[in-house]
Symmetry: C2
Subunit: 242 residues, 2 copies
Amino acid sequence: MTPTVKNHSHHISRQFNADLEEVKKHMLEMGGLVEKQLQDAINAIADADSALGSRVIEQDSIVDAMEVSIDEECNLILARRQPAASDLRLVLAIIKTVRDLERIGDEASKIAKSGVKLSERGEFPNGVAEFRQLGNRVKKMVNMALDAFTRYDTESALSIAMEDSDVDNEYSSAMRSAINLMTDNPDLISKVLNLLWAFRALERIGDHAKNICEHVVYLVAGTDIRHEDLATVATKMRPTSD
Amino acid sequence: MTPTVKNHSHHISRQFNADLEEVKKHMLEMGGLVEKQLQDAINAIADADSALGSRVIEQDSIVDAMEVSIDEECNLILARRQPAASDLRLVLAIIKTVRDLERIGDEASKIAKSGVKLSERGEFPNGVAEFRQLGNRVKKMVNMALDAFTRYDTESALSIAMEDSDVDNEYSSAMRSAINLMTDNPDLISKVLNLLWAFRALERIGDHAKNICEHVVYLVAGTDIRHEDLATVATKMRPTSD
């Protein structure tokens, strides 16, 4: 290989890595905005803050635009650089994660809509403490899933993914309380349903956080663990001490 | 170019096209199964057929396995053939469509769960006719979206995508009836909620059918129309008669 060619290919590979780092940075920026949207949406309900809720709904279009732009960046990288192996997996994992982030933004916007409706109808204390608690838990899952992505940390990704079943349980328990509350107070049905939709959105966000964790495992280990039992996967991936 | 090289590259391109056709075929097979799952789930509710509902829930793992396997096929094509331009868009559109199909399968399985619960609790005629009607409509959207994919038909894709707002309206009207029904009959709340979840799943499936239509437009025209006003897009894409 002549020095010229070497320098040229060195240049290409440096540019390629810079592209990959750049798109990953954009994904994490989008993640940061989505986390903020989720936090604001939770507060809109918990503090009956209708103005905050409206702001979240408005800003959803920024999240949407970020998805389209990052997707475009990824497509350009695939077309121009034709990455292979782990670089290809990184691009595919970013495409999928960005889609999950967009969905989380969507769900945050639904929570905000419930928040606006609830606060318009005056004080509504029932279930709000449980909502804030589950909301914070789910938000932490999203944050830690993105953190696991940054650090390529499959162990942490798997343990966050396993938390999703606790979220599902808390959601089911909130559902049962809501049904009891509605049965005892039929005049509250509309209000309680608004809170129920918001709970359901949190449950969905937990699913998306779990998806992101699965993309991290695919990215690092090259295995597709969707639809597999996570405890078994964790055992298989753990380094043995023998 | 020597004849050997020509034959060789001709051979590669023939094999590449065969790979693309094969993965597209698998996507459409998955689509066929998902449509069947959706039809069965709708019937499970409309005919209070608990056995049928259980079958849908069981078969969801087949849909999941198809998603993983087609995704793997696509990743291999990206890694080995490094497609460009419209071939690359086809692979990316298949990856995204398969994910929507998996979600539709998931929602069908949720409808089936509501069906099992509803039929265990005896006859429940309220809202079932409306449910079947919206269900058939949404199922037709999925079918036509896949058909538009097969024929690379952007015009048809756009008109199906625009139907989604009708689905949203029908869903909102079903919600209002359900709230009235629960208010008048608090003892029916649990049952009505089961039907409401099923309605909500239909509304989601409409969203996924719309997503598939957007992938078709991206595939054919190379433009990303998510989050854009569909009527404007349709006007822009229509050939002018001037």
